[in-house]
């Protein structure tokens, strides 16, 4: 079936991409006007984005928030709206260079999710609470994405201007090697040991088999087969390990700095992986567009087929990026001239906007709806537990901000981890099933 919203989503994507590129030009050339244009383009992008949402709503006959594609669309809308709000509030366009890639990435990922127009809503979803519950949760999650940007930049600006000598560079490379090779290998082995990575089809847990249908079972079987594909899938573990390393290094950054006087190395590792993931996603996106990489038609495991190559390519790209970023000495964040307190405040302000939306939307409205639909306020369903974990993290962050010892870096770490769980909860349906896996079943 033709998607009437597709053309508007395409325009939106190109507007956000243009905005991101303009922000880069703004920062690189230090031209204030270009920053203004970038923000205007992002703002203009919200128009086709809103029209796409409205068109889909009109065409389906119900609010387009019944699947992950639609949810992600609204989340990215919130990120852009939040970006414009913060740019105006702080009178600084440079914020855009960190926040604007998020909606671009989200729209890329969303385009890989099942996105057919669906006029038939299952009975459990036919309620006004769908709009309240999902809209508020998506808007709250969007705000958390902005806080994530604030938190990571706070960690990055930990890069104090330490002169890096020849000896330090060698040490940095040694550390990079550990985080690039040793951590990913350990993670890959661990993942394999606990059975998340390719499992022979006869060892797939019975409860999981029940959830897989048709082509999904085929996918699982392929994962388990021997040969190049098997090793390709195993390499995904290395990619996941790289992401783990990227998060772990900045977290232990202080300790590393104290021991080896390598200020900035952890933060650079983080940026290397973020940049590598972005670049890889773009590469894989193009490979899919020109047909080199084929994704399984209606399979919900398509997302893994996308992220598999992305993770592997990221791992391969990392040393190259590490080399080039090392030459820049990580001073570019500092060169932006944004104070560290601004990042902290953006992180906090975004949580202050998103936390009430998420609490009322995801937890309270969800509980009220669950009482109305299933007769129980809380079922410890995986999605509910996911929402609770996210809520606990951000509640922890809000408390941390009032505690002197927990302010700043530790609070920023909570923002980063909180975001990880926003995504774990978001994609959790594919792993955990439960009452909220409307699409998967």
């Amino acid at each position: 079936m033709n998607r009437p919203d597709a053309i508007f989503y395409s325009i939106t994507f190109y507007a956000y991409l243009a905005s991101f590129l303009l922000y880069i030009v703004h920062v690189a050339l230090k031209k204030e006007k270009v920053g203004l244009y970038a923000t205007i383009v992002a703002g203009i992008g919200l128009i086709p984005h809103s029209i796409a949402f409205g068109t889909r709503w009109a065409h389906q006959g119900h609010i387009p928030l019944a699947n992950m594609y639609e949810y992600m669309g609204l989340m990215s809308w919130m990120v852009v709206a939040g970006l414009i709000y913060f740019v105006i509030r702080y009178k600084n366009h440079k914020i855009g260079v960190f926040v604007s890639p998020i909606p671009v990435m989200m729209l890329v990922v969303a385009s890989l999710l099942p996105n057919e127009v669906n006029r038939q809503l299952m009975p459990a979803l036919q309620s006004n609470w769908l709009a309240i519950h999902v809209t508020l949760a998506a808007l709250g999650s969007g705000a958390f994405l902005i806080s994530f940007a604030g938190g990571t930049l706070y960690l990055l600006t930990d890069d104090e201007s330490v002169k890096v000598g020849r000896e330090s560079v060698r040490r940095e490379w040694n550390l990079f090697a550990i985080f690039w090779i040793a951590v990913p290998i350990v993670v890959a082995v661990l993942l394999k040991l606990i059975g998340i990575l390719p499992t022979p089809i006869n060892q797939v847990p019975a409860n999981m088999m029940g959830r897989l249908t048709g082509s999904a079972v085929t996918q699982f079987a392929l994962m388990a087969s021997d040969g190049p594909l098997y090793w390709g899938r195993t390499a995904i573990g290395l990619g996941i390990g790289l992401v783990v390393a990227a998060i772990a290094w900045p977290l232990y950054h202080g300790r590393i700095v104290k021991q080896s006087k390598l200020a900035g190395a952890g933060s650079r590792m983080f940026m290397v992986v973020v940049a590598a993931l972005l670049l890889s996603a773009i590469i894989v996106g193009f490979l899919i567009k020109n047909g080199t990489v084929m994704l399984t038609g209606r399979s919900y495991l398509k997302i893994f087929e996308f992220f598999g190559p992305v993770l592997v390519i990221s791992w391969a790209l990392s040393p190259i990026l590490w080399f080039f970023m090392g030459r820049a000495q990580g001073a570019w964040v500092k060169s932006l001239g944004l104070k560290r307190t601004v990042f902290e405040e953006i992180g906090y302000a975004a949580v202050a906007i998103g936390y009430p939306l998420y609490t009322v939307g995801a937890l309270f409205a969800g509980a009220i709806w669950a009482e109305q639909a299933w007769g129980t306020w809380w079922s410890w369903d995986p999605k509910e537990v996911g929402a609770l974990i996210i809520w606990l993290f951000y509640t922890g962050f809000l408390h941390a901000r009032y505690q002197r010892e927990w302010r700043g870096k530790r609070a920023a770490v909570l923002l980063v981890l909180g975001m990880v769980f926003v995504f774990v909860s978001f994609f959790g349906n594919y792993f955990f099933g439960g009452l909220h896996s409307f699409e998967v079943t």
Binding site: M1, R89, Y90, E116, N118, R119, Q120, L121, M122, P123, A124, Q126, W129, I194, G195, P205, N207, G210, K339, T341, V342, E345, Y348, A349, A352, I353, Y355, P356, T359, V360, F364, A367, I368, W369, E371, Q372, A373, G375, T376, W377, W380, P382, V385, G386, L388, I389, L392, F393, T395, G396, H399, A400, Y402, Q403, E405, W406, F421, G428, F431, F432
Partner: protein
């Protein structure tokens, strides 16, 4: 023997128990404890999420736990898993202890912070001497004849409520407050959560739950003793979505089963047939296609996803009298005398002479529901107040008169300090401008 450390001696002399209570109280009210318990709960929830997925499920209740684990993992691991109650991790003793600690922390915070919040909202705060002003990050001094009047004017124009007093030196002190009532927000959120947790605990411990089913014409119970009333099933109907792309369908009265993958402009369908043999048929007339399929797959009906709604018509009978008739759907339960009746499922293996299936209703009654509702309302209100309104305070000290008048100004915001620094600059500039205007007019 080494001498007892002075702290320990003091504790013994001072009454060890009282001190212990004080220490426990201080620990429970501390922000650090709250952060740690929140993060431990988050970690425990993550652990449970994965444990539920990877640990062998136990069928037959807690009594079967050890035997099931023993068979899957062996004696030692089975003992640990059973002790940790991993067959029901979210209601396990250790998870309940964590929730209990969180509740205790919430209770202590609410009691401890109550008077502080009250004072923050009701009592104006002054800075007593010019030295105090320099301790506040945002501070400035304005000199000139009209400075004090200008300051008051600007404060008022910016929405600050003013209170006045004077210090021992006879200098005038002014306190301006804006949105200070928003200090109640976090406190209300804590109160709301206590009610929520209490309500949840009451529901978990003492709620009534059962299933009742019947064919149209049946009474759900033999008499009215259990609920104080009875329910009669008048009708039960399953409504299907219109036939459309993506649905499992049967063609020619069930001769072929497949899935529609495209709809043509002339309204015909292209269908991927699975049974009796795999093939594709094109341009099938909609009249040949039905989306009600009386076949099963993996324990469920093949047409499960084609169902738009399940509608049961029920009549409440109390003391033998028909009270009212209502339709019950998913998302629309029947509520009567505290009982709720949910359209839960149906049995398509039993039908009446008109071919109508048996409806199955889930019946519930929760004592804690009012607490949950109240908790949600208070908590939502607290979040709105606490997060979207920013308490701000301005302070001023007026020294001298006429040309020698000096006004010390300081300002503080609980949040967004960098933004408030800009706002403070604007306020001070406005005071300076107004003061200069006033001086000109006076001269």
């Amino acid at each position: 023997m080494s001498p007892t450390p002075p702290e320990k001696r003091e504790a013994k002399q001072d009454g060890g128990f009282d001190k212990m209570i004080d220490q426990a109280w201080n620990l429970l009210k501390s922000m650090k404890f709250a952060i740690v318990i929140l993060l431990i709960l988050a970690a425990a929830s993550i652990f449970n999420l994965f444990a539920n997925e990877f640990i062998v499920p136990v069928r037959g209740g807690a009594s079967q736990a050890y035997a099931t684990y023993d068979q899957a993992y062996g004696g030692l691991r089975a003992g640990i898993l059973t002790f940790m109650q991993m067959y029901s991790p979210y209601t396990s003793w250790w998870y309940s202890v964590l929730l209990g600690l969180l509740l205790l922390s919430l209770l202590v915070c609410v009691i401890d912070r109550g008077p502080i919040v009250w004072r923050l909202v009701t009592k104006p705060r002054f800075l007593d001497s010019s030295a105090d002003f320099t301790d506040v990050p945002q501070h400035d001094t304005i000199k000139g004849a009209g400075a004090a009047a200008a300051m008051e004017k600007v404060f008022k124009r910016r929405g600050f409520l003013l209170s006045r007093t004077s210090n021992e030196a006879g200098e005038q002190l002014i306190a301006g407050s804006r949105n200070v009532w928003a200090h109640t927000g976090p406190w209300l959120v804590h109160v709301g959560f206590i009610l929520l947790v209490l309500g949840g605990a009451m529901i978990a411990r003492g709620s009534y739950q059962s299933n009742a089913g019947g064919l149209p014409g049946d009474l759900l119970k033999p008499d009215e003793t259990e609920w104080g009333f009875n329910i009669r099933v008048d009708d039960f109907e399953i409504i299907y979505h219109p036939v459309q792309v993506g649905q499992y369908v049967q063609v020619d009265g069930g001769a072929m089963i497949g899935r529609i993958f495209d709809e043509n402009e002339d309204g015909t369908f292209d269908i991927e047939i699975f049974s009796p043999s795999a093939r594709t048929i094109s341009s099938v007339d909609p009249a040949r296609v039905e989306n009600r399929i009386d076949r099963r797959m993996q324990g469920g009906r093949l047409d499960q996803t084609n169902i738009a709604d399940y509608v049961a018509t029920l009549t409440i009978i109390e003391n033998g009298q028909e009270i009212r008739t209502e339709t019950v759907e998913v998302n629309r339960p029947l509520r009567h005398n505290g009982y709720r009746f949910y359209q839960s499922s149906f049995n398509d293996r039993v039908s009446d002479d008109q071919g109508r299936w048996m409806t199955i209703l889930n019946v519930r009654k929760d004592k804690g529901a009012p607490f949950v509702w109240l908790g949600i309302i208070i908590c939502s209100f607290g979040l709105l107040v606490g997060m979207y309104f920013e308490p701000q305070r301005m302070y001023a000290l007026v020294r001298g008169e006429g040309k020698d008048q000096e006004v010390f100004v300081a300002g503080r915001s609980e949040r967004n300090r960098a933004l408030f620094a800009d706002r403070f600059e604007t306020i001070v500039s406005a005071i300076r401008e107004a003061s200069a205007r006033g001086t000109k007019e006076a001269s």
